[in-house]
């Protein structure tokens, strides 16, 4: 027997009264719901293996051959492989977090998110969780292939600290993506131009393919703003513990910076989202595709 619905409330006033627990559960379910398409996408579109593992791996390989030709310390090879893996996360943040709201608007999803009874932060969190799961598998693949192919040897003396640094890196990284998601929507008609603008400079400034210390005093500045740069530097110190190539700052300091960044970017994302919603409702920015 099918029905068009079975109500528990007897009138809409009662139906609209939700306990805090129900609000929380709805938001958590929304996170899972929005993460679902990204996670399931791993099995639906195998072409990602070529585009997101093989092609980025070619870039990693190019740097490996350059460093070998220059007789650079062997750790540099490992630096590039780890950097290549972390690049996947940055690409995910730029293209599938920052630019996503813009595309969701074009598709008509944003209107539906706005009219549903969950907070938009839950949608962003769902995108982040889904993106993290999806990208982690790609990052692991890049590290595994790179390590086997180029004989990278790791010296990990504090594995739990490494896990903690990775998590601490992901929070501000995806927090930044959540912040950008609102900003892209507020500022830009062409999200892909903004995304492209962020892509290459960050490869350089984030020290993806070289030790950040190599660019001297600028490194400190980068550390202050880019979670990718800070996280990579800390992770490299932990993954190649016995290396002669030192980090810009001690790992503990870098973890503190990442923690502060995490709070700041998440708070910034929430403020930007609130501002976006207000603008959207006042000016019709979300609902009018021509704006």
């Amino acid at each position: 027997m099918t029905t068009y619905g079975a109500r528990r409330a007897t009138n809409p006033r009662d139906a609209a009264e939700w306990s805090r627990g129900r609000v929380l559960r709805t938001n958590l379910r929304s996170v899972f719901g929005r993460a679902y398409p990204r996670i399931i996408g791993l099995t639906r579109e195998p072409s990602w293996v070529f585009f997101e593992i093989f092609l980025p791996f070619l870039a990693v390989s190019a740097f490996v051959f350059v460093y070998r030709a220059l007789d650079a310390p062997e750790e540099y090879i490992g630096f590039v492989v780890v950097g290549g893996a972390m690049t996947a996360f940055w690409l995910n943040v730029v293209w599938m977090m920052a630019a996503q709201f813009f595309w969701e608007k074009d598709q008509g999803n944003l209107e539906l998110y706005f009219t549903a009874p969950m907070h938009l932060m839950s949608i962003l969190a769902g995108m982040a969780v889904g993106g993290l799961v999806m990208t982690s598998s790609r990052a692991v693949a890049v590290i595994a292939i790179g390590s086997i192919l180029y004989g990278v040897s790791y010296d990990i003396q504090q594995p739990w600290l490494l896990v903690a640094v990775f998590i601490l890196t992901m929070i501000p990284l995806y927090g930044l993506g959540m912040l950008f998601a609102s900003l892209f929507l507020m500022w830009g008609r062409e999200a892909n131009h903004l995304a492209e603008l962020l892509q290459e400079p960050i490869y350089f400034l984030g020290g993806v393919n070289f030790p950040l210390r190599a660019i001297g005093p600028i490194a400190g500045l980068m550390m202050a703003t880019l979670p990718l740069a800070v996280g990579l530097d800390a992770m490299r110190q932990l993954v190649f513990a016995g290396s002669e190539v030192s980090g810009v700052l001690p790992v503990g300091t870098e973890m503190a910076i990442l923690a502060v960044m995490g709070v700041a970017f998440l708070a910034g994302a929430r403020i930007a989202l609130r501002h976006l919603e207000h603008l959207a409702r006042r000016e019709g920015r979300l609902t009018l595709r021509w704006q």
Binding site: T2, T3, Y4, G5, A6, R7, N11, P12, R13, A15, A16, E17, W18, R22, R25, T26, R29, S30, F32, G33, R34, Y36, P37, I40, G41, R44, E45, Q107, G108, N109, E111, L112, Y113, F114, T115, A116, P117, M118, A280, R281, R282, E283, G284, L286, T287, L288, R289, W290
Partner: protein
């Protein structure tokens, strides 16, 4: 508060700050009762979509007050979002790589349904909307009609108290549109208290689905009432076309016209009626004060030696009402609404 309107609007105005500014809504007043199916009928650019966007909390009114289920659209958005849902025509929402069933389940999560309840509700709605065969098909492979059924099912996931349908049959073929209208009526019949606000520019749709209709143009409500009331606005009398096998004797048409309750009786062809009777028939156009006078007309015709061979009531369409009110047809729009 049992008598609280499901939808309430007073002086709702919305001006888009474009160059030049566009007034999409201009002082709209509206009351929709709980359980009522209400239609906003008007051409593109009339302001229908803007009103729906305000009521669904997507837009703020520039001025005026609007409430849904008793909650203010400006200050009580969270509560409104818990009891409404919205489906728009031509909607391409969701993610193409998901199957139809997965897509609905994903949206069920946004409305807070538990994992198990979500799947159960999704399967119910798939069966109701006749999408069982397509349930494991990827969304991007669905036809327009199937896609719109999916959207309709999505709109019912939270069993909304107020459902907004914005041009729901836009771009659908006749069968798919009819199917969707039937589902809409079934949804209403399944439980009392469900309110529907429909925007459309299809007369048949408004007439078939709606208890009351507001005719909207350039941001203003020009007329509001049941379809019958609206038609009465442009044609107070009942007009019948009566076909006889021969001209009535004993005073003929003049005698018919003089009967009590008969306002006028003329030869239909003389009146410029497009449908002329056959060569062996006579067609009369008779205007009555109300339908009850028809009995005396039929009796009088028979008494004068004529046999009735055809009878049809001539009613104005809602488009006639619109033309009468606005002075132009639906296709003659010259105003454009920024939202679509």
């Amino acid at each position: 508060m049992p008598d609280e309107p499901a939808i309430y609007a007073r002086g709702v105005t919305r001006v888009y700050k474009t160059k030049p500014p566009v007034t999409a809504l201009d002082g709209v007043d509206l009351d929709v009762a709980p359980g009522e199916y209400f239609g906003l009928l008007g051409p593109n650019g009339a302001g229908k979509t803007t009103l729906i966007k305000i009521l669904t909390t997507l837009l703020l009114p520039t001025s005026g007050t609007a409430k849904v289920a008793g909650f203010d659209v400006v200050s009580e958005t969270a509560k409104i979002r818990r009891v409404i849902n919205m489906v728009a025509g031509g909607e391409q929402s969701g993610y193409g790589l998901l199957t139809l069933r997965e897509q609905l389940w994903m949206f069920s999560q946004f409305y807070g349904l538990s994992y198990r309840d979500g799947w159960r509700r999704v399967d119910e709605l798939i069966e109701i909307t006749g999408l069982t065969e397509q349930k494991d098909q990827k969304v991007r492979t669905l036809s327009t009609g199937q896609r719109q059924k999916l959207n309709f099912a999505r709109g019912l996931l939270n069993d909304p108290w107020v459902l907004f349908l914005d041009e729901p049959t836009l771009g659908l073929d006749v069968a798919a549109a009819r199917d969707l209208r039937e589902h809409t009526l079934s949804w209403k019949a399944a439980a009392p208290g469900r309110t529907l606000l429909l925007t459309t520019h299809y007369m048949v749709e408004a007439e078939q689905l709606c208890d009351r209709i507001a005719i909207v143009d350039r941001g203003r409500i020009l007329a509001l009432g049941t379809p019958e009331e609206l038609r009465r606005r442009v044609q107070a009398e009942s007009i019948f076309r009566i076909e006889l096998d021969q001209m009535p004797a004993n005073g003929g048409i003049a005698a018919i016209g003089a009967l009590p309750g008969v306002l006028s009786a003329v030869l239909a062809d003389e009146d410029g009626d497009a449908e002329a009777a056959g060569a062996d028939r006579v067609a009369l156009k008779v205007a009555l004060a109300d339908d009850s006078a028809l009995t005396s007309v039929v009796t009088a015709v028979a008494a004068r030696g004529s046999n009735l061979v055809g009878l049809a009531k001539s009613e104005p369409s809602l488009e006639d009402v619109f033309v009468e009110l606005v002075g132009r047809g639906f296709g003659d729009e010259d105003g454009k609404e920024p939202a679509s």
